[in-house]
């Protein structure tokens, strides 16, 4: 019955659309979009995928229960509505009806159960986002109920994460041990993936929502920065991601190309080992914050593609709360250092990666020279990424780092992921990713409270309080938000650059 009903709806919609469709709309249809991506996805299966290039490709054909818009608003997608029980332990999800996967499998509550359990059972890279879900109950075809042991307020936002997407159970079963093709419910259908070369997606004409305009979207893998720039200049690519800051001016002079700067959710910081000298003294940590001119780094090294930090997480993330910036003030820095007993200067080692974050090595050098102005001699140690992770992943006693450059993307858009992971004492390395070992009791309590209280206003309040303490304690040298720079050729309209570092072409078209 529901099938017939959906047929009626589709027909009605079709009629409505054809009757009222403005004449300009038809002209939008068609065209092949080429996007120059920086890296090949490691996988397009939600169980294995972990990088933003993978997410960019996947979200065109796989959909999530909820959608996080580019304005960081949570909107229904495959789930139309939801209800959370009073105690925060039951989440009722009401699913969209009449949705089919590209292979013909229908989408229902069983599929939701299958997918979340698959992520948990196969220990997907991002399964921790849904690990608090203990059981998924299929109430009826379009009603799933998630059961939790303890309240976990970030759950809805986590369900919007691109790697918690719904894949056709048939495709997943068929793939067995291998990675499944991304057979989803989205506006584009997976066509072909030549590893290291390109991924081709084709418009899915029976999409449940408005069909995409483009015939195909091709993601070309172009690892070299300068080559991506050349491709968008020659028109071989319509869109190129990750434009290096030093190419910005040249590209902007190009009449057919537009450079688009988009905010991101990634904060760049230099962390301190707060359990060892000299950074066990909060005055030293604050002195470092005053000693560095964050504005200059953003303006001169990043060519403006960033925003000096005024909180440990970026604006736009739920739970962000603005603090008074540590303004550049070398005199104040020197005073604080003197108070801490370092009036004659200080020698430290500063570890940093190269090529991981935008201009990371150059930024480290800038920090080194500004520190020298306040009498701190920082010795730079460049490390290759995997070696670097290994070096940092140690307990406070075994750790050898003093100060280290790193970035953290709060990819869910919720402070839980940005603050809890970085500052809760249960997250100290090697268990988690906190290499500062700050361990502040009050911060711990606030972050726990924010995790279990389903009330949004209360949560914001908790995060604001925690942020204030973290800011004051300064376990980081707070640097900046690392913005994205992408280039688009004229005539390409409707491309969305998402703060989660994704390029979305579901509504893109070629304007004539």
């Amino acid at each position: 019955m529901s099938k017939r009903f959906s047929l009626v709806v589709v027909l009605a919609l079709f009629l409505a659309v054809t009757l009222v469709m403005p004449s300009g709309l038809a002209a939008r249809e068609g065209g092949d979009l080429d996007i120059a991506l920086n890296t090949d996805p490691e996988s397009l299966d939600p169980v294995e995928a972990s990088s933003s290039p993978a997410a960019t490709v996947m979200l065109h054909s796989l959909e999530t229960l909820f959608d996080m818009t580019e304005d960081m608003e949570l909107e229904p997608l495959l789930a139309e509505d939801y209800e959370i029980s009073e105690d925060g332990l039951e989440y009722d999800l009401y699913l969209r009806e009449g949705v089919y996967f590209h292979d013909g499998h229908y989408f229902d509550a069983e599929v939701v159960k299958y997918n979340i359990e698959r992520l948990q059972d196969e220990e997907a890279v991002f399964s921790f986002l849904v690990d608090p879900v203990q059981e998924i109950e299929v109430v009826d075809d379009y009603h799933a109920r998630l059961h939790l042991d303890e309240p976990f307020a970030p759950l809805l936002i986590n369900l919007s994460h691109d790697f918690i997407s719904m894949i056709s159970p048939d495709a997943a079963e068929e793939a067995g041990d291998d990675d499944a093709d991304p057979v989803g419910t989205g506006p584009f259908e997976f066509e072909e993936w030549t590893r290291g070369e390109e991924v081709v997606l084709e418009r899915y004409d029976d999409y449940w929502g408005d069909n995409a305009y483009l015939d195909t979207v091709t993601f070309n893998i172009v690892p070299e920065d300068s080559t991506r720039v050349v491709q968008v200049e020659t028109g071989e690519a319509d869109v190129a991601v990750f434009i290096p800051p030093y190419e910005r001016e040249r590209l902007e002079a190009e009449p057919d190309v537009e450079v688009v700067q988009t905010e991101s959710l990634r904060t760049i910081y230099a962390g301190f080992h707060t359990r060892n000298e000299p950074f066990d003294d909060v005055r030293v940590r604050q002195a470092f914050n005053y000693a560095i001119d964050k504005e200059a780094i953003v303006e001169q090294i990043l060519e403006g593609a960033g925003r000096p930090s005024d909180a440990p997480i970026a604006p736009g993330i739920f739970g962000y709360s603005e603090q008074e910036k540590y303004e550049y003030n070398p005199e104040r820095a020197q005073e604080l250092l003197a108070e801490a007993g370092y009036e004659d200067g200080l020698e430290i080692t500063f570890h940093h990666p190269e090529g991981r974050y935008t201009m990371d090595a150059t930024i480290a050098q800038a920090i080194q020279s500004q520190l020298a102005d306040v009498g701190v001699e920082a010795q730079l140690e460049t490390m290759e990424w995997t070696t670097y992770l290994d070096f940092l992943e140690r307990s406070p006693e075994e750790a050898e780092h003093e100060m280290y450059l790193l970035g953290w993307g709060t990819v869910t858009g919720d402070a839980d992921y940005g603050l809890y992971s970085m500052f809760h004492s249960s997250e100290w390395a090697p268990a988690g990713s906190d290499y500062t070992y700050l361990g502040h009791e009050e911060v711990d309590e606030l972050l726990e409270a924010a995790q279990s209280d389903p009330d949004e206003d209360n949560r914001e309040e908790y995060y604001a309080e925690a942020t204030e303490i973290i800011w004051e304690e300064a376990p980081w040298l707070f640097l900046h938000r690392d913005d994205q720079m992408n280039a688009v050729r004229d005539g390409v309209e409707g491309i969305v650059f998402h703060p989660r570092e994704q390029v979305i072409s579901a509504e893109a078209y070629f304007a004539e």
């Binding site: 294995e48 070369e197 172009v222 050349v230 990424w385 995997t386």
Partner: protein
């Protein structure tokens, strides 16, 4: 001769065992944890441990080596830790891409290098000689990275004649193969020139000339043929070097070859893919050397293998 070839092929076995052992050891001596590299910055320690056992990296080293060798004898190179796909599937298409590119580049290098070298040798210190030696000096010294980008700027951005990067049509071959060929062309030109000059000074050339054989026959039939041995040696070596060392060209031109795959795999600590690619390249290197040795016998009847 065939006994010699067979013996050389049998010699492959100890060579490959040695290569397997060395590669196995070398990738594991690299600092950095492959399980962490796979799991990523955001992963929990439990997940990292899970990945480690899934990849079989929690076993003691000798056991890992045993498993590696056992699978190798079954023709199984394992699975990539990064993509979880069989290594052979990862390597083969990438290897073919590099092979095509290298073959085209080497053909260009041979043709142009030998022509330039022969002309230079016939008319030493002439203006042709000076021009070609000037360009071959540039060819040897220009960094591949720089040369590739300059060619791309001229022929793709400014003139718009050629695709800047990627694969697909025959036009896509031009810029990367010219870039890749530059150094080899220069080397071959210089090698041809000096080796020809040496031969041209020998007595039998004087004799040939005095017999009244035409100048071109002297140069091509008598001189060049005898000058070929060092050129063939260089060619063989370059072929091996280019196969594994085209990574810069591949990166600049987004050419999905095995060099880039190897670098990506080393960075991701993808042991099985690194092992597989190095083994494949080692086999090729040995085979090419064997082929060159056999070629010697054809070029110079004095060389005989027992």
């Amino acid at each position: 001769m065939s006994v010699y070839i067979l013996r050389r092929i049998f010699l492959l076995i100890p060579v490959l065992l040695g290569v397997a052992l060395i590669v196995f050891g070398m990738v594991r001596m690299l600092p950095g944890d492959p399980a962490r590299a796979v799991a990523g910055l955001h992963a929990t320690p439990e997940y990292v441990e899970h990945v480690r056992s899934e990849l079989g990296l929690d076993e003691p080293l000798p056991v890992q080596f045993g498993i590696f060798m056992r699978d190798l004898f079954r023709g199984d190179l394992g699975r990539s830790t990064r993509t979880r796909r069989p290594v052979a599937q990862e390597i083969w298409p990438r290897f073919l891409n590099t092979l095509y590119l290298t073959a085209v580049a080497l053909a260009l290098a041979t043709i142009f290098g030998m022509i330039a070298g022969v002309i230079s040798a016939i008319r030493p210190y002439s203006i042709y000689d000076q021009i070609s030696m000037f360009f071959s000096m540039i060819g040897i010294s220009a960094p591949v990275f720089w040369l590739g980008l300059i060619l791309m700027l001229i022929f793709s951005v400014n003139l718009g004649w050629l695709p800047s990067s990627g694969t697909g049509t025959i036009w896509h071959f031009i810029l990367p193969s010219v870039t890749l060929a530059a150094q080899s062309t220069a080397l071959i030109a210089r090698m041809t020139r000096s080796s020809m000059l040496e031969v041209l000074g020998l007595d039998y050339i004087v004799t040939a000339r005095s017999k009244g054989i035409s100048e071109s026959a002297v140069n091509l039939k008598h001189a060049l043929r005898n000058a070929l041995i060092p050129i063939v040696t260089i060619l063989g070596l370059r072929f091996g070097i280019l196969l594994g060392g085209a990574v810069l060209t591949e990166t600049v031109f987004s050419w999905p070859g095995i060099g880039r795959l190897m670098v990506d795999s080393i960075l991701a600590r993808d042991y099985p893919v690194v092992q597989g690619s190095v083994l494949l390249l080692a086999i090729l290197f040995v085979m090419i050397n064997l082929f060159v040795d056999i070629l010697y016998a054809f070029l110079d009847p004095q060389i005989q293998y027992e």
